[in-house]
Amino acid sequence: MKKNRLRWLAQLLCFAIFFLFLIGGGTLKSRDLPSEIFLRLSPLGAIATISASKKLISLYLPALGLVVLTLILGRAFCGWVCPLGTMIDLFDWLFRKLRSVTKLYDGRRIKYYLLLFIVLVALLGVEISGWFDPLSIATRTGWVIYNYLGFILVQSAAAVSHIVGTSGLSCSVKHLLGFQIEPYPVQSHTLILLVFLAIVLFGLSLRRYWCRNLCPLGALLALFSSINLFKRKVSESCTDCGKCQRNCRMGCIVSDGKGTLAGECILCMDCQSLCPESAIRFGGGSEESLDFSRRRFVATAVGSVVAIPMLRLNFARTRSKGYPPVIRPPGALEEEEFLQQCVRCAECVVVCPTGALHPALFESGVEGLWSPVLIPRIGYCVRDCTLCGRVCPSGAIRRLSLEGKHATSIGKARFDHNRCIPWSGYKNLRTDAPVWEDINCAVCEEVCPIPTKAIRFKVVLERVAGTEREIRLPYLVEDLCTGCGFCEYACPVKGTPAIVVEGVRGTARVPKGAEPTALGSVFAEFPDWKRTSGPTPYIGKKRLYEYINGGAEPYLTYSFIQVITCKYESKSGRTVVDLWEMESSDDAFGVFSYDRRHAEPATLPDVSAKVGSSYYLWRGRFFIRMYPAKPIPEPEEVERLAEALLRRLPSAPKKPPRLLSFFPEEGKIPGSEVYFHTKFIFDRLGVLERFVKENVLLLGRDTECAVASYEPEARALCVRYPDTIRPRNALSSLIELWRKWGRKISQREGISLSKEEQGFSSLTARGNYLLACFGFTSEQQAFSFIKKMSGSVSE
């Protein structure tokens, strides 16, 4: 009896540790304690994930320890440690009076076939061990039951506290149970509970039915236990009373107590204390082997091959054209790899501080059952939290540093303009709407945790009932969006939210934002050029005024990050070098193209231009401007410095903005293109024959524009808008302006043509684009030019 109690204590202790590790997972993990250690003990999970993903997973090292333990002790883990086993023992004890005589099929070999099946499908790339691994089951079910219990308790506490009429009883209950948020059951929990229910209800027929017949981890441990040192040994004093055989919870005692089935004993030692003759000892015994049928093994092998396509069924992925139909936790591997490594334990679900992660049902296919998905309407991904990656026992979710997490995007938000309050309200604004009733809403912008806001506004002025109304339409800066889902969580639109996050490939990264690159090393001392001052960096738009106060505006219309300035001196003269860093290579080209307007192409390796001893160079996100100071140096010498500087730049050459490729090559003056965003630059290029105060072309930070010059005096303009409405509006307002100037306008094949003093112009809008040309010598020339351009745009 004494040893019996010892086992019970061990089981209770292990279960208590398991349970505390489970509910305290987040707290423990934030202190970097291994709260997921039970899952990492599973050699089944290790074998399945390693053979499915074909890579060595070092996180599973503890599983090796369990294998060694099993080699010595046999299946003691099942009887003494396994939390699911403890649960089953408890229910078996509760059902002791109800146990019926009708026996379920007691087939011990099933678990071996199941194990074989799991390993074979894993080798073929589908990992489903988590469905059957008792440690995964225990973790998953433990959390669900705890959630349901918490839900019931918190709700009844709320009712009681309402009746009593004071103090937040439900809050106290919540804290007592260790919930940081309201416990909340979702639909996939039901299936998890049903599986658990089935496992314990088997106890109505046979004790430890799951462990003896179904558990694949048990089967695996049984295989390892064949040489263990604690095999049951029955001495000569046995009277064949059969008491131990009748009471064995695993049913592993045969031939009236004398024999033991191989790998079935879980070392519970009940028989030792039961035996009236004290004939049973543990250690040094022998076991009778199970008989396997070759036919069944072959059938299992064939079955696993056949099952692969069924497990791979994924309607959701078909429907979404291969795009991941769900949002995975941050740091999750690529979808395929992720499913091969995820053991469906729901540890990440447990630790998620906002309750955003949930076990999936079939959203990500059949094989994705119980894999974690993020449901933004329930919760969102906290920006400064990396718990899910730290707690993942199999490395399906990578451990991310905080910086890595910030740069990882799990999804992208999308606006539904038909539901969004400002967007739809703007379209449906009544002319008699009361003045106070505004249709602005910006909850998504407000909660967006990106420091520079991935959701921004464009402001539209609308005249309603005689008053000018400011309507702020939110839009998404997709590059910055990490898909955290806070906007969808907070969207006040009832039902389907007006902003929805869609999952993207697990490892999609946010392009590095406005962080300045360390560039000090570019400005080295060169043999013929000595540094006289600098390098001095000016980081951020505000500091730019300190450097070129009064002249900074053109540069600020591009996405400016920093400028570093440095002075050099050679034998023949001096030069000042400015190195500009922009957020994108397009913008760096833009600044370059704007600055080199009056220069001629130079012969340096990258795109470059020069005028006298001034040089303009563009490479990637960088733009270098070199201008001479007195005494003026030799151009050749400056060119050598430019080459040396370019070699030290940490960037590869990039292609010019795509917009430039729409300009026909024929007759184009080389190096005449200018790329820009706003009206500020447009006005300085003098494309229209006079200065226009209004922003007729509706240019802004979100538009891309390019202008090129053609022989002899013609100009071409191409503008790309983020939507298709603005180009049409810009087209009509420009035509209206021309009419006001007294021009005649004719239409031909959707192209508007007009005659002005300097020549013929033409104009058209195609999709997102507005195309125009000015100053051609004949109407036919202007027409065919724009035709050619719109042809290349529609390609």
């Binding site: 309402h162 906002t354 969102y380 909660v447």
Partner: protein
């Protein structure tokens, strides 16, 4: 034996009636609505007007600014229950200026305790899913608790629906009982932080009331200026302490970039205290270079008679440390 096992018709009816009565009674009790009695303004001997403290030590500045109006004992009397409502809305460290400075909160807690308050509660109802994250990251929970306050999360079951008479856009809304009801709280101190805000341009004292209301908070962001004023018609704030020790100038109200936080003595580094929340907001708006009347909710609040935007009219006390 056999007779005992069977339920007679009479017994069945008795059982059914009793069970029905108990369940029905419980159901009634859980649905019953009490008539809420609103908190009144606490009678006090504080000076009218606005006090501004400048300096580098937020705790000391708070203390001096309150002292300039007469000290906390002019407001809090012994055995009062005091509620301090800072901005604990976001999961950000204090340096990012998305939440109230924890030292300002702690300083207020200490002052209230010294004035003899029986209980000082500190809470906010952040829009984040998990309130424990901002409570922890902002440092307010820890520093307020150490100063002697009871820091609790808002219990979502304890909101009461209150009528808003003559509201611009709202006729009733749900308010947190512990901050607005007479038998729950004697003194309410609002401790906002000065921030840029995407929707309402600025978030200061009047906007900070969003943290003690529930129902559909997202919906409050349409016609936000009118709704801010309407909510403030019900809430009786006895003292407003605006934390402008740091000022978030861009990308509010969440922030997250140190570049957006103003730490300069010219633009920030001050604590603004007054009984009049409108005056505090008007004074706070000048930090952003915005005239008080340019902000919708300040203009409307003055029209609604909640205070005066001419913050120098009733006394302006400056304390330099």
């Amino acid at each position: 034996m056999e007779k005992d096992d069977k339920l007679t018709r009479r017994e069945f009816i008795q059982w059914a009636l009793t069970a029905g009565a108990v369940l029905g009674g419980l159901g009634y009790l859980t649905k019953r609505k009490r008539k809420p009695r609103l908190k009144k303004f606490k009678p006090n001997s504080l000076r009218d007007g606005v006090a501004v403290a400048y300096g580098e030590d937020p705790a000391l500045m708070t203390e001096r600014a309150v002292a300039a109006l007469g000290g906390m004992s002019a407001l809090v009397s012994p055995d009062d229950v005091v509620v301090i409502k800072p901005n604990i809305a976001w999961d950000r460290a204090p340096e990012f200026c998305a939440t109230t400075n924890p030292e300002v909160v702690a300083s207020l807690v200490r002052m209230c305790r010294r004035a003899g308050a029986k209980l000082v509660k500190v809470f906010d109802f952040p829009p984040t899913r998990n309130p424990s994250l901002p409570y922890k990251t902002s440092g307010i929970a820890e520093s307020a608790e150490r100063a002697g306050a009871v820091v609790k999360f808002v219990d979502p079951n304890r909101f009461v629906t209150l009528q808003i008479p003559d509201g611009y856009a709202l006729s009733e809304w749900d308010f947190y009982a512990e901050a607005v009801l007479e038998d729950e709280v004697d003194v309410l101190i609002n401790v906002p932080v000065a921030k840029h805000h995407g929707t309402s341009r600025l978030t200061l004292a009047l906007k900070n009331i969003f943290g003690i209301v529930d129902r559909d908070r997202g919906d409050l962001h349409r016609s936000i200026h009118e709704k801010i004023v309407d909510l403030n018609r019900v809430v009786r704030v006895d003292l407003t302490v605006l934390d402008a020790y740091r000022v978030l100038r861009r990308n509010g109200p969440t922030g997250g970039r140190l570049e957006d936080v103003d730490n300069s003595p010219e633009g920030a580094r001050r604590i603004i205290v007054s009984k009049d929340p409108v005056a505090v907001d008007a004074c706070g708006a000048t930090l952003f270079g915005i005239g008080p009347k340019e902000i919708g909710f300040i203009r409307l609040a003055e029209e609604a008679g909640l205070g005066s935007s001419d913050f120098k009219a009733r006394g302006f006390y400056e304390v330099k440390l």
